[in-house]
């Protein structure tokens, strides 16, 4: 069983943290991952920086741009992660846009993921149907789970389809927005979380976008399996560097 699947079976609400690889400094990647795990984070999304991150707001755009300036590449990320599994056992997911993965070669990318111990991928601009038709066999061959997004606008029928090909969790985008833009959840969002929960999907849902503190984490996970924090953690990194990651995680969890 893939580490993501094992983790999803745990009887608790999961906290997942996103950050851009190579930010604030190019060699911070491994230390950030270790710190997050040792402070009780359940899962990590390692952002593969891209020059044109269409689905991201200013915070992640800036960290992504800075990471590229720092010299981060797909090749370098895999080098940095070479021996990550000697020290880290929680699920690790790479979140990146499709073009850098396409240039690396989709099969080569999946293979490199397997070699270093990456469990899953989130590729926002790789449409579900294109994956299903052209790339699914490669992900399966290397044991990589592909995670799909749904939004408040996704139809019931499409959610069912996405659920049917999801082997890990479904990434529930909390509202119609790019990353980092909303603060707090309205009834509109909680209704949407409930609506999807009532569909009794086989794949658990983890909420992302707009979760920034303990309050929004609790709201988001009331009807779901877990939540993902991205922009708020990146803001913490840009203010504090890689110090005090424990404080950040503690304010969410305790």
């Amino acid at each position: 069983m893939n580490r993501i699947q094992t983790k999803l079976k745990e009887d608790k609400k999961l906290l997942s943290i996103y950050f851009s690889a190579g930010y604030p400094s190019v060699n911070d990647t491994v230390e950030i991952i270790q710190e997050l795990e040792s402070n009780g984070v359940d899962m990590i999304e390692i952002g593969l920086p891209f020059s044109d991150p269409l689905a991201d707001g200013p915070t992640i755009q800036e960290s992504s741009t800075q990471a590229l300036k720092n010299g981060m590449t797909s090749e370098l990320l895999f080098q940095q992660l070479q021996s990550i599994r000697a020290s880290v056992s929680i699920p690790l997911i790479i979140m990146g846009y499709f073009n850098p993965i396409l240039q690396y070669g989709v099969e080569a990318f999946c293979k490199a993921c397997q070699e270093v111990g990456i469990d899953g991928l989130i590729i926002p601009d790789l449409p579900v149907d294109v994956y299903d038709e052209n790339y699914k066999h490669l992900f399966k061959k290397y044991g990589i789970i592909n995670v799909f997004l749904i939004t408040p606008q996704t139809s019931q029928e499409r959610i069912r389809y996405i659920d049917s090909i999801s082997e890990g969790f479904i990434y529930m985008v909390s509202s119609a927005s790019v990353t980092g833009s909303s603060s707090g959840f309205q009834t509109e969002q909680t209704d949407y979380f409930k609506r999807v929960a009532n569909m009794e999907l086989q794949a658990p849902q983890i909420v992302g976008f707009g979760i920034s503190n303990q309050e929004t984490f609790k709201q988001a996970t009331q009807h779901t399996k877990g939540a993902i924090i991205g922009s708020a953690f990146i803001k913490h990194l840009s203010a504090n560097g890689i110090k005090n990651i424990d404080t950040f995680v503690n304010t969410i969890l305790h």
Binding site: D52, P100, S155
Partner: protein, 393 residues
Amino acid sequence: MSYNVNSKGYYGDFGGAYIPEMLYPNVEELRQNYLKVMTEPSFINAFNALLKDYVGRPSPLYFAKRLSEKYNTKIYLKREDLNHTGAHKINNTIGQILMAQRLGKKRIIAETGAGQHGVATATVCALMGLECIVYMGAVDIERQAPNVARMKMLGATVIPANSGSKTLKDATNEAIRDWINNPVNTYYIIGSVVGPHPYPDMVARFQAVVSEEMQWQLQEKEGRKDPDYVIACVGGGSNAAGAFYHYLDTPKVKLIAAEAAGLGVHSGESAATSILGKEGIIHGSKTLLMQTPDGQITEPYSISAGLDYPGVGPMHANLYKTKRAEFIAITDDQAMEAGLELSMLEGIIPAIESSHALAVFKQKTFKTDDVIVLSLSGRGDKDLDTYSKHFKL
């Protein structure tokens, strides 16, 4: 084999809709409706009536006598520069604003490079009384100031894009982000044959009026509807798509695309996508784009804001790969000279984008009896400052 789009939204290997799930409902709504809407008689009538009475179509097909004598061949100029707002861009925005209305959208967003598409969008929004937001790179806001003023006068809100190279690519990113943030009430009027399917096909169909007119105009003037060559500049590729459209599957009509080589194709300051590009994904489309080996999109350069784009529409990527069209790279200097030459020989000041197409005559020799139609995509009013500085006028 057809050079047109297939039922899945691909031109050969290029095209498709590589969009985040957040955009899926919008793009899918458009995909399911665009052909149905575009073929409704009431839509066709409304579109044609506006093109005639508001845009001023048909645009003349003008025999450029002195230019022809200079290059010892037969050159016709398709005068898109005479359209209302001064470029071919309005053909597309008229079509798309009618589409937005049919889909019940109230808020219009657009990206713009040279500002021509922004002005054309602001114009049709004023005409229809719809809210208009235009994203424009901060660099372009500076070099196309007259168009920024026009958009504002037409009631549009112009929002600067400050990320990346601060040009067309970044303005497009911002427009797409806006659309993600406003998925229900907003319609995105894309300005060229780029973006996810169905945009490239829809925009090409709205621009196809250009070659439709060329066929009967040439019949009147030359007794044949097919020229030997069609020449157009390519940024995203919409004026070229319009000028090529009805000739795509007529192989005896040779197609020439002029690309912006900036300071030189291999100078590092260029936007010659066909030569420098590799297959990849930009703005939701699989196409040729300029990128690093790691798949990061590189920042292009051209003196012409309308050609300053690191990708090209999927139709053109396929025309390049299949060699259906010949791509010729034109530097800043070559384009500027050609613009000055047309002004002096014919009394027509072209947009710098169009000057790239005109510069083909110095790169390639044509036969005396060749009949050539060149898409004069826009007028040079917006570029006077750049021309003046370049030639120290």
